[in-house]
């Protein structure tokens, strides 16, 4: 591991100032992914700015009935928070389906959003990877890609985003608050992560020096239920082969509100706008759900060994919607 400096930030302003002053700096939250990547030589920050003790560890209601989640709130705490469990079960379930208990006790909200792909080539510095070293190529296209993307990938990168939490945030229309050298700004969770295109080294829209300070959830749509479903190779401590976050509101048999996002399929949580379009106003029937999900997954372009993900995602989503409809 490369030697690095360590600074414990006393305020958000200081963290941002120091980060801007040190182009090679990185923010340290729980460190569950960053420290691993440093040990692998994938991340090589000159300076770690520890933001884990900043007063960003609170969860509270917003004026309009939404929820404000500090960037350093631990995944375990967030999953267990009564407001999350009762109003946003999809988020609690997504968090609890991620990683292991020990990791969730350490991982933070901001860090979870910023975790990097587990593509084996990205993690191995002895091999090419456009995300890690732009222009070197993508061995996963022909290599081990069973776990990688079927949607939105490019010839430069087929990585998937590993987070479960971020999938729920996408479906919940959360926003990400950023504090940077030029002040504060808000980015919708649905746009926070990028598609790889020809710049796969950029995972997110975050700019140099910017710090995630909080995530804000809008009020839960009236009467809508939500849930998260994930398929994986083992019962715990495994990344999603495919997952789905679904929010559904039904009135008099018709779908009033629908939000759907897939995990494990793309470089970012895949918000299923085409499916939502087909769902809204339609009768809440199995046929509707299948048609809607198919409309979304028609865009899938599986690789040699991951075509199963399309059927898996379809199955998860149709089942999740049916379950929410049955409960409403």
């Amino acid at each position: 591991m490369k030697p690095f400096g360590y600074l414990r930030a006393r305020s958000t302003a200081e963290a941002v100032r120091e980060s801007s002053a040190h182009p090679g700096a990185g923010f340290l939250g729980g460190g569950t992914n960053l420290v691993d990547l440093m040990k692998l030589g994938v991340e090589t920050p000159d300076l770690l700015i520890d933001i884990s003790r900043l007063p960003l560890d609170q969860v509270g209601d917003t004026d309009n009935g939404g929820l404000r989640i500090g960037a350093t709130v631990r995944n375990s705490d967030l999953a267990a928070h009564p407001a999350v469990r009762t109003r946003y079960p999809v988020l609690s379930q997504a968090l609890l389906s991620g990683a292991s208990g020990q990791l969730r006790n350490t991982a933070t909200t901001g860090g979870n959003l910023l975790q990097r792909t587990r593509c084996p080539y990205f993690q191995d510095t002895s091999k090419p990877c456009n995300k890690r070293e732009p222009g070197t190529g993508c061995p996963a296209l022909e290599g081990a890609h069973r776990d990688l993307a079927v949607l939105g990938h490019s010839e430069h990168c087929v990585a998937t985003h590993p987070s479960d939490m971020a999938v729920a945030l996408s479906a919940l229309d959360a926003t990400v608050q950023l504090h940077g050298p030029d002040g504060e700004r808000t980015v919708p969770a649905t746009e926070f992560h990028r598609l790889p295109g020809d710049t796969p080294h950029r995972d997110t829209e975050i700019r140099a020096g910017e710090l995630i300070t909080e995530v804000v959830l809008p009020p839960r749509p009236d009467g809508a239920g939500s849930l998260y479903r994930k398929a994986r190779d083992r019962a715990s401590f495994a990344f999603a082969l495919a997952s789905v976050a679904a929010v559904l509101g039904v009135r008099d048999g018709r779908i009033e509100h629908a939000a759907l996002a897939f995990g494990g399929l793309a470089h970012r949580p895949w918000r299923a706008y085409a499916a939502e379009e087909a769902l809204r106003g339609a009768p809440a029937t199995g046929e509707t759900f299948e048609r809607a999900v198919d409309a979304e997954l028609a865009a899938a372009r599986p690789l040699r060994d991951n075509a199963f993900k399309v059927g898996l995602a379809r199955s998860l989503a149709v089942d999740a919607l049916a379950e929410l409809a049955a409960d409403s």
Binding site: G41, S100, S126, P139, G143, D233, R234, S236, F308, S315
Partner: protein, 699 residues
């Protein structure tokens, strides 16, 4: 032999349990002699070729870096007893991950920084890393692992198969698997002024490692001490000396300082062995009543270009079921891959997956209950050799297991048990593992205060070796176990074989038994007080254990599993599992149960989650950490029930025990796979049964 005398057979608690849970038990990497340096091994990043240059200037200029060893300057080894130990001896790169250099520095991080600063130039040759059924390099070796003949034929298997009214002809495939013990391999080596080599090493037998290091460095065994006090698992990959021990000793000699090397997890897959992939064709021919007439088991597997290791997967078919005609064969090809080696129940684990899956297919084809089919083909004598069994508890295990599991209520029809989206099914498979035993020596000492001390260079890889050996001594000496002190884990102690082949307790135990018996006799003959230094007896069992038994000696078992398959996702979860084993006398029910459960858990991993993928482009295994190599986690492992049938077998050893370290994994994957077939109607013939493999049949 009568019932084993107490305290044998009692559930004594692990002697070192407290040390382990309180963190005071020290492992190989936790010994840091004054002045200790740290080594970081450098793996090759090409799959085949040669190292044309190792540029060390930049690395050596870094702070703290003491030395860079490569084939340019590393000490020449004499006669390594295993070709994988001939590291840094020449420029050849036989596979990706092969060590080509070692950086030695004052801290681990400096060593690693040095490794990153090395510039290595290669000449690359085209590589060949993918096993296929028609690989042009396939050949029939003379023998396979365990020194069994590669080919055995009895009668005319082809003709009998062709004439059989009911036939199963199926090919099964298992990918590579890795042992991945919790504690990675580590060594701390130090040379003294008089040329004595001291090594703390994580292995399954430090007498073996001492011999190996002595051969490599041209020393007499007495000039080498290897200490392995606590070992955090091995599962076979620490059964032979591994490169870290040789590298640490080389670097310590080169620098004149103690050197510690703890292998990083990500390097393990290439340098400490793996279970090689197998492609296994089974042909079973049977009469309508289920009587087997022909058994063919033909295995294809891979080895490396460094050494020949042939997974003996067809060997269990030579002992399991009676049939007039049989053929069991192995063919192997040498690829540019890491060298395969022992992984828990080499041969039996993959071989019994295929054989026991085929038996399940045959039962379905015949319409005979799978337990009943096995009972009908339970032979009186060992089919291959004709020798009588010293004891054969298979039928008893199947019957006892079936009763305990509720097997007989089972509806044999596949895919008819739905619980909402879940498909539920049950499966059974037989298990077997041979009785191995090796000569061992031990000493028994009686002190004047009435206490005893037993010394034997056994290794505790987590099984409870100290505990059971104390029980054996106490039973002979007729004294409470607390009155026995046990010293193990150092090559300075009386020589003993490794913890491998499920033979440790039998081999070490026999010598402990013999020494204790002789000590007891002496004590009885001793009139008057003991001399102040006490009384010490040394015993070795080379003679007894080298006598060939006229009996076929094997442990047997029966595995039962219930699974639920999620028809929406293809996810398989084991709901309950029962293993019933017949393995002689069980000497310590507490530690034995733990070993059986451990083996069955590893079997769940083999069935459902574990797999190492060979990357055809790069020539390495894709899964290189415990986040991607999926060993089962607690949530994957249900309540596992273990039961055993105590056997009185006088043809084993004075304790009447068979080994139990490996049989728990044998048949477990087949039982799970058979249960998946019963649940879904889908017969998959390759492992692991991950969602992507099942899903196409379910949606």
């Amino acid at each position: 032999m009568s019932q084993a005398p107490p305290p044998l057979g009692t559930p004594a608690a692990r002697r070192e349990g407290r040390d382990k849970v309180t963190g005071t038990a020290r492992y190989a990497a936790e010994h840091t002699p004054p002045g200790c340096l740290y080594g970081w091994p450098v793996p090759a990043t090409i799959a085949r070729g040669r190292v044309s240059a190792v540029h060390t200037d930049e690395a050596l200029a870094l702070p703290g870096v003491h030395a860079v060893l490569s084939h340019d300057n590393a000490p020449r080894l004499k006669q390594p007893d295993d070709p994988i130990l001939a590291v840094l001896q020449d420029d050849r790169v036989p596979h990706r991950g092969w060590y080509i250099a070692l950086v030695v520095a004052d801290t681990l991080d400096h060593a690693r920084a040095g490794a990153e600063a090395l510039r290595i130039a290669y000449e690359t040759t085209e590589h060949d890393v993918v096993l296929s059924e028609n690989h042009p390099g396939l050949y029939t070796p003379e023998t396979v692992n365990g020194e069994y003949p590669a080919v055995r034929e009895r009668g005319d298997a082809d003709r009998a198969f062709a004439m059989a009214p009911v036939q199963v002809d199926a090919t099964y495939a298992i990918g590579a698997l890795h042992n991945h013990p919790m504690e990675p391999h580590a060594s701390t080596a130090q040379w003294t002024q008089d040329g004595h080599l001291h090594v703390h090493d994580s292995n399954q037998g430090s007498t073996t490692v001492r011999e190996s290091l002595a051969a490599a460095f041209g020393l007499r065994p007495q000039q080498v001490t290897v200490v392995s006090e606590h070992v955090g698992g091995g599962f076979g990959c620490k059964g032979t000396t591994r490169p870290q021990a040789v590298l640490a000793a080389m670097a310590a000699r080169h620098t004149g300082r103690p050197v510690k090397i703890a292998l990083p997890r990500r390097q393990l897959a290439a340098v400490v062995g793996h279970r090689p992939p197998t492609v296994q064709r089974l042909r079973l021919g049977a009469e309508l009543d289920g009587t087997l007439t022909s058994v063919s088991h033909e295995v294809i597997t891979q080895t490396s270009t460094v050494k020949e290791f042939v997974e003996q997967a067809a060997v269990p078919a030579r002992i399991m079921y009676g049939s007039a005609h049989s053929r069991t064969t192995h063919r192997v090809t040498a690829l540019d891959v890491p060298s395969p080696s022992w992984m828990r129940a080499p041969g039996e684990a993959p071989g019994m997956y295929a054989l026991e899956s085929a038996m399940d297919e045959l039962a379905a084809a015949l319409g005979i209950d799978p337990v009943e089919l096995r009972l009908r083909n339970d032979p009186a004598d060992e089919p291959d050799s004709g020798r009588p069994f010293s004891s054969r508890g298979l039928a008893a295990c199947l019957e006892e297991g079936a009763a305990r599991f509720g097997w007989y209520d089972r509806d044999p029809r596949p895919a008819v048990r739905e619980e909402g989206p879940l498909l539920v099914g049950t499966g059974v498979a037989s298990a077997t593992y041979p009785v191995y035993i090796a000569g061992s020596s031990a000493s028994a000492h009686a002190a004047t205060d009435g206490s005893y001390r037993i010394q034997v260079n056994a290794t505790d890889i987590g099984t409870g070796a100290r505990t059971v050996l104390a029980q054996i001594a106490a039973s002979v000496l007729n004294t409470p176990v607390e009155n026995i002190r046990i010293d193990i884990g150092s090559s300075e102690l009386p020589d003993a074989p490794l913890a491998g082949g499920s033979s440790g307790t039998a081999s070490w135990g026999w010598s402990v038994h013999k020494a204790s018996t002789a000590l007891l006799r002496q004590l009885r003959e001793c009139t008057g007080p003991l001399p102040a230094e006490g009384l010490t007896i040394f015993a070795d069992t080379e003679q007894e254990t080298s006598e060939k038994s006229p009996y076929a000696r094997h442990a047997f078992g029966a595995q039962f599993a219930e699974v639920a398959v999620d028809s929406r996702t293809g996810e398989v979860r084991v709901r309950r599992m029962l293993g019933v084993f017949a393995a002689g006398h069980i000497l310590n029910p507490r530690t034995a149960r733990s070993q059986f459960i451990g083996g069955m858990t590893m079997g769940i991993g083999m069935a459902l989650t574990e797999g190492s993928t060979m990357d055809p482009v790069f020539g390495d295994f894709t899964e290189s950490d415990l986040a991607s190599y999926h060993v089962p986690v607690c949530a994957d492992v249900p309540e596992i029930e273990v039961h055993w049938i105590d056997e009185d077998d006088p043809h084993l050893n004075p304790m009447g025990s068979k080994g139990i370290g490996e049989i728990g994994i044998v048949g477990a994957a087949a039982a799970v796979g058979n249960a998946v077939r019963h649940a879904t109607g889908v017969r998959l013939r390759s492992l692991p049964l991950t969602p992507d493999t099942l899903l196409p049949y379910l949606l």
